[in-house]
Symmetry: C2
Subunit: 163 residues, 2 copies
């Protein structure tokens, strides 16, 4: 099954789509959707919504894992991250995908073994788990891969058995 991990954001929205049987994973797509920081926020949100539609059209994921927005983490960007996450969750659920949110600590714990892992540790573990030649760049893409891997780890036994 195709699992799409998304790290929502308005400047950089990370995504990573893995084809998995619950144990072995193939990286189908990994990258970031960006919008111009100097454009008005409504325009940027419309652009992100359009890019998300294209991404879902192309990848046709069955499951979508999204990092949960926690406002205490970064108040400065909390509003735009919340708005971006709204677009992601609505697009995924509107298409009938399974949609699950994970906290940053759940994602770090599932991938790096502890919830206090820094960005470099997460990127290095993602590189190793996916057999990549180098850590994914930028960090938002690595985070999206970690979110997809977190979903596979947490729902792992049912993914392999049910599909």
């Amino acid at each position: 099954m195709f699992v799409l991990g998304i790290d929502p954001g308005l400047s950089r929205c990370g995504y990573c789509c893995l084809d998995t049987d619950g144990r072995a994973h193939t990286t189908m797509a990994i990258g970031v959707l960006t919008t111009p920081p100097d454009a008005p926020v409504p325009q940027r949100l419309a652009e992100l919504a359009s890019d998300l539609r294209s991404l879902f059209d192309e990848l046709q994921p069955q499951a979508v894992a999204v990092e949960r927005v926690l406002f205490q983490v970064n108040v400065r960007t909390a509003i735009s991250v919340g708005q971006a996450s709204g677009l992601v969750l609505a697009e995924a659920a509107g298409r009938g995908c399974e949609v699950v949110e994970y906290s940053p600590n759940q994602v770090k714990g599932a991938v790096a073994g502890h919830g206090a892992a820094d960005k470099n540790e997460v990127a290095t573990m993602v590189q190793w788990l996916l057999g990549l030649s180098r850590p994914p760049h930028p960090a938002d893409a690595a985070d999206a891969a970690a979110i997809a891997l977190c979903h596979i780890a947490i729902s792992g036994t049912t993914v392999g058995a049910a599909r």
Copy 2:
């Protein structure tokens, strides 16, 4: 021109569409879009996105005024209000509407004369300004009308002159 005011929210998203020449206004539509509180958030966001598309299809507004999300006001609902506002702003800008955000204080100041006006004062002023037989209900619908009136008041001279 048609000005659509929106008070974003996931449980109740208020809307009010006014046909205006900058001075006289006709209420074309007023109400709330609701989603079931017991459904999963992604489903509710998908439902709201679909209802917003239908509303925009029906009303074809030229300008959309949206209440700005301020996280200090209500931390408990800030996440879902931010997610809902993302859907509204993306839908409006994606259709090429003029999109403007106003703070709660700007809206209250424009309609009731002072930024500390309570919900009853706002609803009563909306009733009077729109010549309604009673204050709009629920408060989210009255707030949406106040947001549309705020946009007309602030952009008033250009609305009348340019369109």
